[in-house]
Amino acid sequence: MVMREYFFRVKGLRAGYGGKAVVEDLEVLLGRGEILSLIGPNGAGKSTVLRSIAGQLGLMGGAVFLDGEVVAKMKGPRRARRMAAVFTKGPRTEMMTCRDVVAMGRYPYTGRFGALSAGDVRVVDEVMELVHVRDLGGADFNRVSDGQRQRVMLARAMCQEPEIVILDEPVTFLDAGYKLEFLSVLQELRRQKGLTVIMSLHELELAKRISDKVLCLRGEYGWSFGTPEEIFVPGAMEEVFGICPGGFHEGGGGMELRRPEGQGDLFVIAGGGTGQSFFRRLQREGRPFVTGIIYDNDLDFPAAGALACEAVTARAFEPVEGRVMDRAKWLMDRCGRVVCSQRAIGSLDLANRELLEYAKGAGKLAAMEEVTGSAGTK
């Protein structure tokens, strides 16, 4: 009964190569038209799991169900009409146009010699339109860009008219524009065709945005499966990928490099998103710093937490408590110089206005240019 509710199910999967499992007892449940992303460090078994699901690799245990049917028991062409795949390694072709490659996707439908019927040609045309590769039809497959090639391979998969498509790192080698476009095409296909998508992604920020479900493989058999909200909880990615605290910001998907070591001699009055790029500049120069007062809804908040030796923070839309202000002033007293990244502090931000005045009074206020660059690194 339970299985009926799910379009796609992985049950107790044990997957690996050469008798050695990389994943055990894996459970995945997907509804029709859902997008699942596999994330996790290199070597955690993303490709192995995808290859096992796609029928490229024998299962060491467990089963994969599609619409209640065991995938491993489907005959090749029958499976190919329901499930298609795009692999990391693009094919090496000779004398094939993009259209030839796309048309290969009709394989499970064509006859003895693979000749395309009028219906097949129509499907090829329609799919090429849908995946935005219509213009590439006559181009030699070997001479198009990586981004175009990947879309051609997606079009090839879509020619199988699958209900589910499996993609191994489909956007890894694409530039930012192509990454977004490729994922948009997937969303379009899901909307128009009810396509279910399973793919591995290295781009955590994109996985968080596009996925209905996320499977996080951590290596050593560990895995977690759930909605992006359940998987991208604060600190989770840092643990999985071995990143230092604050290095990955689950909310925005941004990443920060390692915090500079040492005791901060510079106090940055930031806020309103004006501080983060300055924090990163200090990080590049290896200069430790402290900052405050950052409200917890501020754009500077994640970067401050990740990069500052200490960030004095306060709850937004509440008066700043006295002990917070005291802490900020105490830190400022220990610093040689103070910098303010805001051109003008808003009239309701009384706390930071007070800090700025305090800095001026102590004669420590400096311009940002004075403390960075060659001047800053003695």
């Binding site: 490229q56 499976r79 298609a84 795949a85 290969m104 394989y107 395309l116």
Partner: protein
């Protein structure tokens, strides 16, 4: 309409190759150390009786030889095409991968053994021996292909297997009975000479079946060209197809080795030239075109081998190498060498 244009080009190319084969057939019959006078040739074509001496030369010597060049040349090129597909390697071929040499060694052993006992050998036994030898070398190359990732290293290991087999063959031939040395020596250099109709019938029988089988695999071969993963994902039984490719390419090159000995470069060069000529990599076109291209190439080379320095005759590999090796160099230079 794009596919119609392609069909037009492919059809035209096939017609050209077929016409070329016919033309070379006519030249092969007509030309040689004895020129057949036009009048006699015309009589022959009209089916009238011609001078007995000329008739013997045409019917008993030149026609079977040309027919053998047709069948065996086609078989070699097709075998090369299958191996290139199998290994995803543009410079694979039965000769460079040592498969021809393995077949040759097996045939030499059988010949020396049987002839030493003054028995006659049937063509079937020779083909069988050659097939066995081809499969053994293929097995070695396959084992190597699991160990080495690089296409270049694979070809080098094939060349090494070929050298080993050739060395052993030379050894066997050198110590064979003197009476048989001439015969064996000629064959071990590679030659289409001395073909009888009986040979041609056997090779035509075996090869036509093999070629038909290859043609029926055109569809999965096309899918396999995109790589094993993609072939499997569209429903090809990849393991079965691989076995068939190995067996068929071995049968094709074994047949050649059994009758004509080692013939180099046809398997590598012809599919490459043909692919550029017909302008598509589609197996449906490549299979017949490779066969006809190989036929044409070998008939032409054989004609050169026996006429240029007549009455002396060149080894067929001497001529095929002269024309084939530059093609291989050209193919390698033309590709971005991404397959190392």
């Amino acid at each position: 309409m794009e596919s119609r244009r392609r069909r037009g080009r492919g059809g035209g190319a096939l017609a050209f190759l077929g016409a070329g084969c016919l033309l070379l057939l006519a030249c092969s019959v007509f030309w040689g150390s004895v020129l057949i006078p036009f009048g006699e040739f015309g009589k022959f074509l009209r089916g009238e009786g011609m001078d007995e001496a000329y008739r013997k030369i045409v019917v008993d010597i030149r026609l079977p030889r040309a027919a053998a060049a047709f069948w065996l040349g086609g078989a070699l090129a097709l075998s090369g095409y299958l191996l290139q597909t199998f290994f995803h390697n543009p410079i694979a071929g039965p000769f460079v991968l040592g498969i021809s040499s393995g077949a040759k060694l097996a045939v030499a052993l059988v010949m020396v053994e049987v002839l030493g006992r003054s028995m006659t050998i049937s063509s079937g036994v020779l083909i069988g021996a050659a097939f066995g030898g081809a499969l053994v070398s293929m097995g070695v190359v396959l084992l190597m292909s699991r160990r080495v990732d690089s296409m270049a290293l694979l070809v080098i290991s094939g060349v090494m297997v070929g050298y080993i087999c050739s060395a052993v063959t030379d050894f066997v031939v050198t110590f064979a009975d003197e009476a048989e040395i001439v015969n064996l020596h000629n064959w071990s250099r590679g030659s289409f000479s001395g073909m009888a109709w009986g040979h041609v019938r056997v090779m035509a029988g075996v090869l036509s079946m093999a070629v038909a089988a290859v043609f029926f695999l055109a569809k999965p071969i096309g899918a396999y060209e995109l790589g094993e993963e993609y072939a499997r994902s569209v429903g090809v039984h990849v393991e079965g197809l691989r076995v068939l490719l190995v067996v068929l390419s071995s049968v094709l090159s074994a047949c050649v080795a059994a009758f004509a000995g080692p013939v180099s470069f046809v398997g590598i060069a012809v599919p490459q030239m043909v692919k550029r000529f017909i302008g598509t990599g589609s197996p449906l076109w490549m299979i017949p075109a490779s066969f006809l291209g190989g036929s044409m190439f070998c008939m032409g080379c054989d004609l050169i081998a026996r006429t240029v320095f007549a009455p002396a005759e060149l080894g067929i590999s001497t001529v095929t190498a002269v024309f084939g090796a530059p093609v291989v160099l050209w193919v390698m230079a033309g590709r971005r060498l991404g397959w190392s």
